[in-house]
Amino acid sequence: MALIQISEPGQTTAPHQHRLAAGIDLGTTNSLVATVRSGVAETLPDDTGRHLLPSVVRYLEQGEALVGEAAQVQAADDPLNTVVSVKRFMGRGVEDVKRLGVSLPYEFVAGESGMPLIRTAAGDRSPVQVSADILATLKRRAEQTLGGDLTGVVITVPAYFDDAQRQATKDAGTLAGLKVLRLLNEPTAAAVAYGLDRSADGIIAVYDLGVGTFDISILRLNQGVFEVMATAGDTALGGDDMDHLIAGWIMVQAGLDERIDHGLQRRLLQAACAAKEALTGQEATDIRVELSAGQPWQGVLSRGQMDELIEPLIKKTLAPCRRALRDAGVSVNDIHEVIMVGGSTRVPRVRTLIGGFFQRPPLVDIDPDRVVAIGAAIQADILAGNKPEDDMLLLDVIPLSLGIETMGGLSEKIVPRNTTIPVARAQEFTTFKDGQTAMALHVVQGERELVEDCRSLARFELRDIPPMAAGAAHIRVTYQVDADGLLSVTAEEQTSGAQAHIEVKPSYGLTDTEIETMLRASMDHAQDDMQARRLREQQVEADRVLEALQAALQQDAGQFLDADERQAIDQAAEALETARAGDDYREIKTAVERLEAASAVYVERRMNANIQKAMTGHAVDEFK
């Protein structure tokens, strides 16, 4: 309940309590967790001082999971049970994973709803579960460092992530026992980290070159409101490709041909990566590679040579940059700041070329590996309610068009890409047979004309349509995309007002039942612990709801509620207090829901009044 959040700053009677919140950058190669402490956002290290957690999970036979460094060091010895780059499989189907083209050591099997499962020694694991294991490790790290439970987290996702990928990320959070306050686009998080919301208004470009992905976003900042104007990118372009180019150069120099074993290939890539890193600080570097036992190769690579090698790759990122500018309807001259994100932007040539393209030196002060997590932490701190006076607002857009399948396998766009979310669009359908009571719909996401070229999001079946003559029923289907970019669908028959029943079958997601089953499975070994934890969570929730409600009622109950309405709320509040004193978390939960239902009218009136108040002084008359 957010009553407290819509009261005027400084008017709440409740003492302010700092809530523990964190930002999580769930990356393809590395993940990080950050939090705001004493007003400063910082990433949190593990007990050995490392901030980056390799996004690697190794499953052991006893069902145990090793996450991070521990899993990574043994990846070569146990490739079948070691999952790397799981982010690439999030929200993907078995067929998509095959099409990714990367050769993967582990075996995929099809899950219940088309989701690929990875066969490991600990059993079959979905990408969502693997990600949940990474998130749980970061959660533990944060809770141990901060000395308390996290109220909520913000998890970042690439701006181009589609609905299925976002949903999968959120599900992973839920599975890890986190309350996901918001999925935040990575570029937006970077802009927040630089505190650009505090600076002058303007248009910002965020250039994110990671290990394996590239992403460019154009944001507009206006009076503390961030809008993502456009995003573009390439999901198969990154620092890894630089390593391959440099490794290729070494092979030519060393007179090697294509037929080299995996071990040497890995050594070459390691040497290439090390050379690339060395050349960020120096003009030339020595390279040594053991070609075979006792046969070393040695050479020198200058920065100029490397620049020449990787230049085509950097230039390849310019096409998406132009596209994003065009989609945003701005030109290079309109850009006020350029932010560098991702480890690969440490390469000096990247900075000069991109700075040249945007005609200004890019911002590089914050560690490009950590900047996204830091921004997420700042946003989490605000969303958790720790800064009630902060009116920063992040408005995002939907990265890919939402469409519906029409006759002939074509996609008809309902919500075009780069539309600001939340958004709701309605469409009317009619029946084509007398007495028809059901209808099937297929929602897809993507820019292509043909449905088969787009990503299948979900199939819906409209049932319980009242039987009428063909063409007489008018079914209004509303597609709503929330602030996280997640889709939900409702349908109503217009003439009779009957709610058509909708059954959603996510194409590659988890059904609610699947999540429930997984949650239960993960809880089995810690049943009592979980019970106690749930009870504590619900008690905290109950206290917050009651506290906020009392503060609000004291302020303006008389203004918005008549005696009956007030009585209903008071009764529900009393019931909650009784439940709060007991030890059944389900009862508390139900009582919270009942109180929310009872006070819904009150909340809505307050919300409307608040809007009216914000808009007064703008009476239409003043312009006449």
């Binding site: 309940m1 957010a2 959040q5 819509i6 109220t151 909520g152 309350k179 306050l181 918001r182 206006n222 009076q223 409101v225 230039k315 390849k316 310019l318 096409a319 132009r322 596209r323 065009r326 605000i382 969303l383 958790a384 309610g385 009116d391 607002l393 992040l394 408005l395 539309t419 600001t420 979310i421 939340p422 958004v423 709701a424 709503q480 995309v481 929330d482 602030a483 917050r544 709801v545 919270v592 829901e593 929310e596 239902a597 819904a600 909340v603 809505e604 009136r605 919300m607 409307n608 009044a609 608040n610 809007i611 009216q612 914000a614 808009m615 703008h618 009476a619 239409v620 312009f623 006449k624």
Partner: protein, 181 residues
Amino acid sequence: MSSLLTQNYFQLFSLPEQYRLERAELDDRYRELQRNVHPDRFASAGDRVRRLSVQQAAHINEAYETLKDPLRRGRYLLTLRGQTMGDQQATHQDPEFLMQQMTLREALGEVREQADPLAELDRLAREVRAQYQALEAGLADALDERQDAEAALTFALRMQYFTRLQNEVQELEANMEDELL
């Protein structure tokens, strides 16, 4: 107190119900409204409140998208005044206008054959933009001063033709720029 969701878009933004508007004012009001209703303001709220907030934020976004686009704003205002744009008007365009459209389209089709294709495309883009702005001025005059719905419909319809043309110019621009890389 009228609910947010039932107000027309002009009322919602406290703007006079007319075609001409101050874009800066619209933008300011939009942000002010979103600051009050956006789901991020209710991140730890219950489901019911969050649903309400998403619904309202979506409505405000839709209203903003409509009012900020010259053509959509014109159509919306015409709808408020009981006029809808049907397809029958499409056939009632005068030959001169259709001729101009054909000439522009032909020029666009031949851009790649010009000595300096990008310069030629630039010239066309400028012309299309200028024509669009002239139509917009006409629409504003027809709606706000002359109160001539018939004329307004014609202007709006022509703007539609030019919007399509503008999209094609942009698409060609995009393709040509990508090819240059």
